[in-house]
């Protein structure tokens, strides 16, 4: 029994944090709001070169051949940085789907290009109803009633949507599934894709919550009222203690969900739902506390907090919100047998 990341896993996460601290500070995230397609290809190439995009791809095609346990800490780092690139969708869902269902001729070559950072594939889950960065994607992995489909972006119709987080370029995708587009039929591949997306979002939410908490701690330590730092007041302390509590008891569920996926645990779906439910709620608790502890400055677009807050609002509801995942847990736990 050992419930901790290995030194190698932590070192990789540190290296990713260092890259993102340098290359993806808040001003870069803000710049994505104003860029034509919301993408930052320089950063995406750096992530691909580091092996992050293809962590789960086999080494034979340029990937790192690592596991979901290795990846989950990296996704938390992406959340911490507010990375607007489609890392979670591509690295955690698309890459393993192409890896495991490579029979379709299109997908082998595509996987190699994705791992190299030369192509991206957007993800469209039915529960989400929209796809992130579809316009800049070469292909789309789309869920339909009969399974997962891989469709060239040129074969679909995209309607861009306005989003509260300006860095998230979402589109509705109008398309028609066919036998030619089917990548993996049957329910299991789609369920796995949904679970993977849920755990990836949960990991990002943990990172986002860590960041919002860090920003709030810094602010209440510096900001003075009544002649003292506001962080010395119990009312403020208790807000941030509650935020810490929610977050620290969500993380273990998220790490465990990645472990169960890696080990092929029969409860991997259940564990994914517990992780997403708890991480979504934790991010809400942390976000509300961080905003309140900032007072009026937090309620501006000048303060960096809003960048992370808006990302959290999006991800809390992506790949199933907390209530949907608790319904799934209820179905497994309360109604089994």
């Amino acid at each position: 029994m050992r419930f901790a990341f290995s030194d190698d896993q932590l070192a990789f996460a540190d290296a990713v944090r260092e890259l993102l601290t340098n290359e993806c500070p808040p001003e870069v995230v803000r710049a994505a709001w104003d860029s034509p397609d919301g993408r930052n290809r320089r950063l995406w190439t750096q992530l691909a070169e580091m092996g992050v995009v293809g962590m789960l791809a086999p080494e034979s095609i340029g990937g790192l051949g690592l596991s979901d346990i290795d990846l989950v800490r990296i996704l938390a780092e992406a959340g911490f940085a507010g990375l607007a690139e489609p890392l979670a969708d591509v690295a955690a869902v698309v890459v393993p789907a192409l890896r495991d269902h490579g029979a379709a001729g299109l997908s082998d070559e595509l996987l190699a290009r994705v791992v190299a950072g030369e192509a991206t594939v957007g993800l469209g889950l039915r529960s989400d109803g929209s796809t992130l960065h579809a316009e800049s994607a070469d292909a789309l992995l789309l869920e339909a009633e009969d399974g997962l489909h891989l469709v060239a972006t040129t074969d679909v119709e995209l309607s861009p949507l306005n989003t509260v987080d300006g860095a998230r370029r979402l589109s509705r995708v109008v398309w028609s599934p066919s036998e030619e587009t089917l990548l993996a039929g049957g329910p299991s591949a789609a369920v796995e894709a949904r679970d993977r997306a849920a755990v990836a979002a949960a990991a990002e939410l943990c990172g986002l919550a860590d960041r919002m908490l860090a920003i709030a701690v810094e602010y209440v330590t510096e900001r003075k009222q009544f002649g003292v730092p506001i962080g010395s007041f119990q009312a403020v302390k208790h807000h941030l203690a509650n935020a810490t509590l929610a977050l620290e008891f969500a993380k273990p569920l998220v790490w465990r969900a990645a472990y169960s996926r890696t080990m092929g645990d029969p409860d991997a779906s259940l564990h994914a739902s517990m992780a997403k439910a708890q991480a979504s709620d934790a991010a809400e608790v942390v976000g509300v506390a961080a905003l309140q502890c900032h007072g009026a400055i937090g309620y501006t677009v000048e303060c960096d907090l809003h960048v992370f807050l808006k990302r959290a609002w999006a991800l809390q509801r992506r790949a199933g919100d907390a209530a949907a995942h608790r319904r799934r847990v209820a179905a497994a736990v309360l109604h089994a047998n």
Partner: protein, 385 residues
Amino acid sequence: MDLTWSEREEAFRAECRTWLEANVPHGLPSGDTREGFTLHLEWERTLHAAGYAAVSWPKAYGGRDASLWEWLIFEEEYYRAGGPQRVTQNGIFLLAPTIFEFGTDAQRDYYLPRMSAAEDLWCQGWSEPNAGSDLAGITSRAVRDEAAGGWRLSGQKTWTTRGAFCTHLFGLFRSDGDAERHRGLTYFLVPLDAEGVTVRGFGRLDGDEGFAEVFLDDVFVPDGDADPARGGVLGGVDQGWGVAMATTTSERGLTLRSPGRFRATASRLVELYRARGGDDPLLADEVVRAWIGAEAYDLYTLGDVTQITSGGSPGARSSLNKLFWSELDIALHRAALNILGPDAEIDDDPFMKGYQFALSGPIYAGTNEIQRNIVAERVLGLPRK
């Protein structure tokens, strides 16, 4: 990361499960009543005879040299089997870790075997009428008696759990009245049959005589480990605050609240929902929230034990632990009461009893307000003033 148990640990689990299923008594009355306490002592002595009273202790003191992981397994099996409350817990889980750390050989050899055998029954003497959350404000005093080679204790302790049924008290007394608040305190071990001790039990919220006030009037306790049968000093004179903080870390953290206990309550809650929940989606959501909380607590503990067995210490994170389990315990029991509806008030329901006990969680072992201050100041680094 490896969330599997070794063969040896699985064998230990199987051994515990077999023994517990054959031996755990069911339907014992509350151990926080005089009659119930006596029955619980029989159970404690049965546990001891089989070597299960304190599994993680050395064999010489009545344990079985189990690892921290095996202790978790034992606890999980104990509560899974429906094992009752441990009326010896304040000794075994709070005082003993302190004796292991600060006691002399003579103290360890004298007290620990008697404690695991449930011969000496320990209660704690921290709080006083005017010192609760502000523990350093205690005024009970220890006056030096040079001629007799010891100390004379006077003052009043209160909220002493099962004090009316116990044989011994451990607690803090002010040995240097001139020192600053946290200094000048000494940790004493006191037999309750010593001359000058008066104990008065009184009813808790649930009606059981689970609380006691302990009055000390010029009670003689010998120096250090000179005569352990008559009590003594644990750790150095005037060093009591540091010694006591070691104990409260145990109380807030792992040693008092093993995850098996909440997992077992969560399982019983699920059974109750299946039997009586009527497929109400709001009740289902409440049950699922609490059930996920029990899972989270279990996993968090596995992370803590990984850290401890790698040589680390949870430190101030033990306050997060205490906040979580105390609020989880209430959530689990409240969900059950909501399923029971009007039947919840029927007094013999174990969930109602459990709910009343759970309500004490955010109050004892350092109120949750104090714990939140600790998290803010020592985990997040916010300014104290």
